[in-house]
């Protein structure tokens, strides 16, 4: 009787050991799960940390920024795919707001509200805010959307699975699904130009220098001075996105 029991327990041991070894062997063949808790990181040290500044008082609504972006970045020409665009806000005497953006502002604007009803009117250029705590980076399941060490939110279109979760997550409406690539597309802050020391296309082509970008870590940069000397505001600060697009003279009605 005792013998049988011993025999069984030995068999059990061998079986368990075999199972453990087998499991180890099989799992070791699986490529390691490249899990990262959060895809974006704050800059380490004092490298470049890109920010954007837009002066609403300077914007004349010419739409050159949207047009040059489409040309530079091969954005589909249809009038509803934009990496950046200009909105015309018109606040009426009764407090109601009219927002218009025909073809993103590329063809210019015509005021549709009669002069007698207008309280005030202004342009708001919009683009990716390159947030430091991007909701879009947070929700991407495969890390196709990521933040570069210098603070630019980019998309690696080779990884994107087209789930469109980032389109849902972006509170600024800055993303769209590219009609032929079936992956998401967005503003890159012309990263390819930045790396060559050039300005982003939209800023290069702005006739009034209403939009600038630069290193927020450098106190002498144009952007840092802009942020320091003007009463800047970001869009939807309550969402805690860590937006790095600073507007001067932003009206509270702007959404």
């Amino acid at each position: 009787m005792k013998n049988v029991k011993e025999n069984q327990s030995r068999r059990k041991f061998i079986r368990n050991a075999g199972m453990t070894l087998g499991t180890l062997l099989v799992t070791s063949a699986i490529p390691s799960f490249n899990a990262v808790l959060f895809a974006a990181n704050k800059p380490k040290g004092k490298g470049v940390w890109y920010g954007i500044a837009i002066d609403i008082e300077k914007c004349i609504g010419c739409g050159n920024c949207a047009k040059s972006c489409k040309i530079e970045n091969d954005v589909p020409q249809e009038p509803f795919f934009f990496r950046n665009w200009v909105e015309q806000y018109t606040i009426k005497h009764d407090g109601s707001i009219v927002v218009e953006s025909p073809n993103g502002g590329i063809d210019g604007f015509t005021q549709s509200v009669p002069d007698a009803e207008i309280e005030k009117s202004f342009f708001v250029p919009k683009m990716c805010n390159h947030c430091a705590k991007s909701p879009c980076v947070q929700v991407c399941p495969v890390g196709a959307t990521f933040e570069t060490p210098d603070g630019v939110v980019l998309v690696d279109e080779k990884y994107c699975i087209g789930c469109r979760y980032c389109v849902q997550a972006c509170p600024y409406g800055c993303r769209y699904i590219h009609p032929t690539k079936n992956v998401v597309d967005k503003c890159t802050l012309c990263y390819h130009r930045l790396k060559k020391g050039l300005m982003p296309a939209c800023m290069q082509n702005c006739p009034t220098q209403a939009r600038i970008s630069g290193d927020l870590n450098d106190p002498e940069s144009e952007v840092s001075k802009f942020v320091k000397t003007k009463n800047v505001y970001v869009l939807k600060p309550h969402l805690n996105t860590g937006s790095k697009l600073y507007y001067n003279a932003l009206n509270q009605e702007v959404r």
Binding site: F33, F80, N103, P141, V142, Y159, G162, C163
Partner: protein, 445 residues
């Protein structure tokens, strides 16, 4: 149970009998389903080649019918855990004949949930990126793993109690085609009904019904988080988890009621799926619908009272605007009226409760469409200067065909499985009857 107790042999023969018959109606039904699936496959092939532009999903409503159906499938699949785990753990013996129906529905639904999410992807060829390059910060990754886990557990929970039944079929269905006998022989895993085998089976079943509970709750909670973590009016709600779980039990109970009625009439199982089962399931549907109604009131009254700018715009659209007809129809015909009707006993008879369940199930599907789509038309910035088609979401034929195709696949899975396996668990029901008889004789003594 009100029915008289039966001997094992009789139960066995009663429940095996439907498997011998391959009726003309059944064959036509399967062919209809296959044609629907082929159409859907064709549409999907087209979508694969052309891209998601074939759907009505655009910048604003970038999630549409597919995601709504995905939520619906996940919801329906939860019933497997309610009936076979929750009710079993609560020692509710009456639900025994319904366990297999609910597990079949759960399996078919969760399989289709997985399929629908892949259909919705712009680049389905990269689905493995979720495993290879997963980011734990994304709820999609959580959902991917929990859906797959639930699929596996559902499969095991369906299979385990089937083993003794398959062994019975292996021994009794000697006139079946060769492939079918071979199938039984392989799947019976050499079941001999020894004491050790029974002990092992019951132990594993117990482990599985406990294991499925946390997974079942997480699957639907995580699915609700897909929406709730976004800071959007109509989605960003703290009660979305329990709200979805409660709604899932409503949808699942309705699905089980419909399947019960169909199998009972088609397979003549009146002695096993009794009027009393419909009565009790009707009560269960009432209970779950009441809980869901409670969450609905919470979900709409609280933001409706505050009426902040974005929430207000969203609720205005639901209550009085474009979505109002579908919203109120869903709430009234899919929830409030069924609750009122189910209060009355005659309404819990098989046919009325079957009709009510159909309404509830359609309502459950429409409710998910109403949760997923209207919110997207209240982005945090104005919609203007886009083509007219961007302002509304009306699914295209491609989307409808593919979605109908997934429904056909789910029904086909159930249809084919009940062709080869008994829809009412033989040994479990026999055990119930034996217990019932034992207590009955004890009472007489």
């Amino acid at each position: 149970m009100t029915t008289e107790t039966k001997k094992f042999e009789q139960i066995r023969e009663d429940l095996i009998r439907p498997l011998h018959k391959n009726t003309f109606g059944n064959q036509v039904w399967i062919r209809v389903l296959i044609i629907m699936i082929l159409l859907a496959a064709f549409a999907y092939g087209h979508q694969l080649m052309t891209g998601l532009g074939l759907t009505a999903m655009r910048d604003y409503s970038s999630w549409g019918l597919y995601i709504a159906s995905f939520v619906f499938w996940v919801a329906v699949s939860l019933i497997g855990s309610l009936i076979s785990a929750v009710l079993k753990l609560l020692d509710q013996k009456w639900s025994t004949p319904l366990t297999r129906i609910s597990e079949l529905i759960a399996l078919a639904a969760i399989a289709m949930a997985g399929a629908t999410i892949v259909i919705d992807m712009g680049r389905p060829d990269r689905v493995l990126n979720i495993v290879l390059n997963g980011r734990l910060s994304s709820p999609i990754v959580w959902d991917f793993f929990v859906v797959n886990t639930y699929l596996v557990i559902s499969l095991i929970l369906l299979y385990l109690p089937l083993i003794p039944d398959i062994a019975i079929l292996r021994d009794r269905m000697t006139d079946a085609p060769k492939w079918q006998r071979k199938l039984y022989e392989v799947l019976a895993l050499n079941w001999q009904g020894t004491k050790e085998q029974w002990a092992l089976l019951k132990k594993s079943m117990k482990i599985m019904i406990i294991l499925i509970l946390p997974v079942a709750f997480s699957i639907h909670t995580v699915t609700s988080w897909l929406f709730a973590v976004n800071s959007r009016a109509g989605w960003h709600s703290t009660i979305f988890g329990p709200y979805f779980v409660a709604g899932a039990f409503v949808a699942g109970s309705a699905a089980v009621l419909i399947a019960m009625y169909v199998f009972r009439t088609r397979q003549k199982l009146q002695d096993y799926i009794t009027d009393d089962h419909f009565n009790k399931m009707g009560k269960l549907l009432f209970l779950t619908a009441m809980v869901y109604l409670y969450f609905n009131i919470n979900e709409y009254l609280v933001p409706g009272y505050a009426w902040s700018r974005l929430e207000g715009a969203h609720l205005h659209e639901l209550f009085f605007g474009q979505e109002a007809p579908s919203f109120w129809m869903t709430q009234i015909f899919g929830l409030v009226l069924p609750i009122i009707l189910l209060l009355f006993r005659p309404m819990r008879k098989p046919l009325p409760v079957f009709v009510i369940a159909i309404f509830v199930l359609i309502g459950a599907w429409a409710k998910r469409v109403l949760i997923v789509i209207p919110t997207q038309f209240h982005p945090q910035f104005p919609i203007q200067n886009v083509p007219e088609s961007f302002h509304h979401y009306v699914p295209t034929y491609t989307e409808l065909t593919i979605t109908l195709g997934t429904f056909a696949i789910a029904i086909l899975i159930i249809t084919l499985l009940v062709r080869v396996f008994p829809v009412v668990p033989i040994w479990e029901v026999a055990e119930e009857h034996e217990n019932h008889e034992a207590t009955a004789t004890k009472n007489i003594k």
